[in-house]
Subunit: 348 residues, 2 copies
Amino acid sequence: MKALSKSKAATIYEVAKHAGVSIATVSRALRDSDLVTEATRARVRAAVEALNYTPNQSGRALAEGRHAANGIVFPDLTGPYYAEVVLGYEEIAAELGRSVLILTTHGRRDAEAAVHDLAGRVDGLAVMGNTVGDDTVRAIAATGVPLVLLARPPVDGIDTIRTRNERTAAELAEHLVAHGHRRFVFAGDPQAAPDMAGRYAGLVKVLRAHGLPRPDLRPCAYDVEAGERVGAQLMADPPDAVVCANDEVALGVHIAAEAAGRSVPHDLAVTGWDDVLAARFAGLTTVTQPMRELGATAARWLDERIGERSTGPDRANPRRRVLPTRLVTRRSCGSHPVETPDPLGGTA
Amino acid sequence: MKALSKSKAATIYEVAKHAGVSIATVSRALRDSDLVTEATRARVRAAVEALNYTPNQSGRALAEGRHAANGIVFPDLTGPYYAEVVLGYEEIAAELGRSVLILTTHGRRDAEAAVHDLAGRVDGLAVMGNTVGDDTVRAIAATGVPLVLLARPPVDGIDTIRTRNERTAAELAEHLVAHGHRRFVFAGDPQAAPDMAGRYAGLVKVLRAHGLPRPDLRPCAYDVEAGERVGAQLMADPPDAVVCANDEVALGVHIAAEAAGRSVPHDLAVTGWDDVLAARFAGLTTVTQPMRELGATAARWLDERIGERSTGPDRANPRRRVLPTRLVTRRSCGSHPVETPDPLGGTA
DNA sequence: TTCGACTTTGAAAGCGCTTTCATCGCCGCC
DNA sequence: GGCGGCGATGAAAGCGCTTTCAAAGTCGAA
């Protein structure tokens, strides 16, 4: 019960010696093989206890030819969006006996190398959005590591899960037009992420269908501060509606508008995307996405692909899935609400 | 450039054969050792490219005797709190050349075993709050894996980083008392987490100092729904102030109060903890914590401990740090504000 | 009592990599 | 022209574990 001084972790050899058996027996006893006597198993367990043994998982991974770990790559954890995806992913991966390695590419220049390195540590990898280029994705897929792309356009024969952007954006746009809005601004960068491109496209399509002018495009980062800056610029000559790439931007625009003495939705409508908690309190019209499910589905698909790898057919027919999203109308989208009895709840 | 059909990842042996060198040379070429000719290196690189080689990190870890990975254990990613901590941790770990393995103990019964397993995959481990018992913490520390505890009372000689709870809670309580509040409720469970215990203790101390009755203790979970339930119960006979364990609970109470026709802060004050984005929009008085820094500091300390392990002295003198927190007063704490020119910003 | 069939255990190979140590050329120098 | 020295490379050991294969016990039946 001491061993504290040793500072070097015990190995299976020491456990074997302590228990008076071979390392093979120790391994079997710990793996719940029924090839060992109860008595032997007890002795081994006692030795494990005494030496405070923790199996080295690298050794195990090497011997088994698998890592028992999955990776996930995303731009950043900021905001609840990615956090929820990761959580759903981890939950299912853990159920399936896999650890989860995370990697954010946020402010890195060596992102591609880091992802490659990660690929060498895992049995399967989920990649979110525009974190790395298609070339890297293809190269990793070619090494045989199962991959699933999240919120990103499909690449070759690789499994992909997305959320519905264009159609729900169109629905949102129709709603705004029905409110009487005519001059639109889109705050966000369609080039920055595929999701954003879809949202922009949905908006553009509807405006065109109604013979309205194209939205004024204001590329910006995806945080409150960026929204505030865009909002402040707009306040000189406010449009009818500002469709924002996500809730953070929308909340920033909201703040800027009020700071400039404009009222939302009286003077202008503002909408977001993601339905963060704050959206509820700001009365922000937005869109909910099943983020947890996005992560969970990725983990399940990967597990299946990893299972397939040894047997059966390989990446013949890639899986594709688009998860539904849902418009949540609150008061920020227009001054004459047709809905929303509960100002905090939003419509179902 | 194909190898797609193989489905089996290339090893260093195949690269060596392809390049016409030994595996030692391949290893050296890839590790940027200056022991190889530029010409050789180029040949190796070409072979790596051609075979789409990704080094197996388990093999490397085993050979090097290190994992080049850190772990972090936390209850759940829900809410921005843990996400931010993880992000700060990952950022620094990545800078230091370490991957990050996450593990949530949320709804698990085998949490202790999972943490043990994780300990066998990493060079260092951060453990948040009440995720696992002290025994497990001690057992892992005894194996020689450097550990750092976050938001948790110190255990033996193990490094610990916390945020200031009791003192800032006292400050908050003083503020509320100054507002004239007398009957307090604490919504949250001091038994559930050490942080919560500290917040409760700070409140109790101040009330006693003022000769006021002890707060009415309402244990609850830490999400909006739990807050709503507690809030609904309280509305029959509203107290002067509801001090909540975190912002989510506070926002729930807020919702329940308004649903019951009570106004915050006119009829009762509500305060939270964490300063989530929504707190700004709900005008919630709360406390900010340097969560990112919490994670970042943990990653740095671990790196140092890992470095020490080979040389120098071991866990003789454990490190301890308490990160400062800061009261953010907004309108929810009292109806006659002494501060806060900007209703959305809060005071510095 | 003896033999075969199980059951339990041990010896050893091998997973993919790093690294020490030895070897092999090659250069410059005496 | 021979030799020491050095730079580049290869052979092989070993990291901690799992697993195959063989050996050693154990038991029941003949």
